[in-house]
Symmetry: C2
Subunit: 231 residues, 2 copies
């Protein structure tokens, strides 16, 4: 049996079970193709959902922010969270309103937060994050100052349970609707890279560094991210 | 004073207050540029975050799904939720690791769910959703069957509190780092429309309908959606 995340009461897809995936390869592929997660937590009984950049190291998800942030202070205490990552891949237009849908890949991952508090561990985590986005970038930059590390909080979450849900393909239409006139089909959606904009205070002849070589204009962001190595 | 969402304890941005917005125009613009929201709710003390297509009618957000869905059944009972919408607009690379960042627009909206249960109200809601995405689409389609309406749940949430958080611009760098060598700048990110794919069971000469005219290839999804009228 492959290593995965055995479906649990909260992760098993009950409707359309063919869209559910519980293996590491599928779940990690959806996670590694993303940059922004939506982290859900509870404070005083109130659900809160915060969008944040994240990265993965093995079966852990990590994110960071200001040490003064309400969300990160709550999460530093060690609380249950739900981290959801989703990619919109297309719009589906059927011959009936009912057959209209969207194409997507998503993961819901459950676990409990743990802060990374030791300074050198934070430094390693931030290096891993920057180099995950821009391979080798940290070697192009000055070292991170200790005072900078002290200003941020880094949160990790061991994935206890997770599932991926993927809707791909095309129009799913009832047999009786197939003869309806008019157009039906898919409008693809993709998130992609634009033309790099050099900071105005830098000579425009300064070359792009090797760490951003993957971010070619028009490249798909999910493919660029999916190619950078996650540990 | 303009109509808005007066900042509350849970919506006021305390750090970087210049990024916070509480007016209807800004909040609605971020919401109307999006298709997928992340809806956070609590079940048995556990936070859950579900990605879902949504739409706005005035100061209400709406979404729908299978009547059998766990999330929608929980929400039909009337519970507090946090609906978060975010747009990734770019990657910021500074001269230091600390100045690396992302460009984004996001809204967190708080309220309590209420189901739309009456069949004709559900029909109106689903028409509004389809026509919000594809103006005039419902007139191109057969009527929705009652049995189809009975299979879905529609949830609405009056926005009680909301804030927008917007990070735009370029590299924010400490003065002492400005002399560092190497490249710094912004890599724009945009979510856009691909080439329409006609369903294989339809004659490829069937024209695209007027309702999808806005979805031109390479158009930005947020701009297409932002142009369709929200009531």
């Amino acid at each position: 049996m492959t290593t995965g995340f055995p479906p649990s009461a909260r992760t098993r897809l009950r409707r359309r079970p063919q869209r559910g995936h519980y293996d590491e390869a599928t779940i990690f592929a959806v996670l590694d193709a993303g940059l922004i997660a939506h982290v859900g937590y509870v404070a005083d009984g109130q659900p809160l959902v915060t969008p944040t950049a994240y990265w993965r190291e093995g079966r852990r998800l990590l994110w960071h922010g200001s040490a003064g942030s309400r969300a990160l202070r709550a999460q530093a205490a060690g609380i249950p969270v739900c981290v959801t990552v989703s990619h919109l891949d297309g719009l589906v237009l059927g011959r009936s309103g009912f057959a209209h849908s969207v194409l997507y890949r998503s993961v819901m991952a459950f676990g409990r937060t743990a802060p990374i508090e030791e300074r050198e561990a934070k430094r390693r985590a931030m290096h891993a994050f920057i180099d995950r986005l821009y391979p080798g970038r940290t070697r192009e930059l000055r070292p991170i100052h200790d005072v900078e590390l002290d200003m941020i909080a880094v949160i990790s979450m061991e994935i206890e349970e997770a599932s991926a849900k993927i809707r791909d393909g095309g129009v799913n239409e009832k047999e009786e609707d197939l003869q309806a006139p008019g157009w039906a089909g898919v409008i693809p959606v993709r998130t992609s890279i634009g033309a790099k904009q050099t900071d105005a205070r830098i000579d425009s002849r300064v070359p792009f560094p090797p760490s951003v070589a993957g971010y070619a204009e028009s490249a798909r962001l999910d493919e660029v991210l999916g190619k950078t190595p996650a540990s």
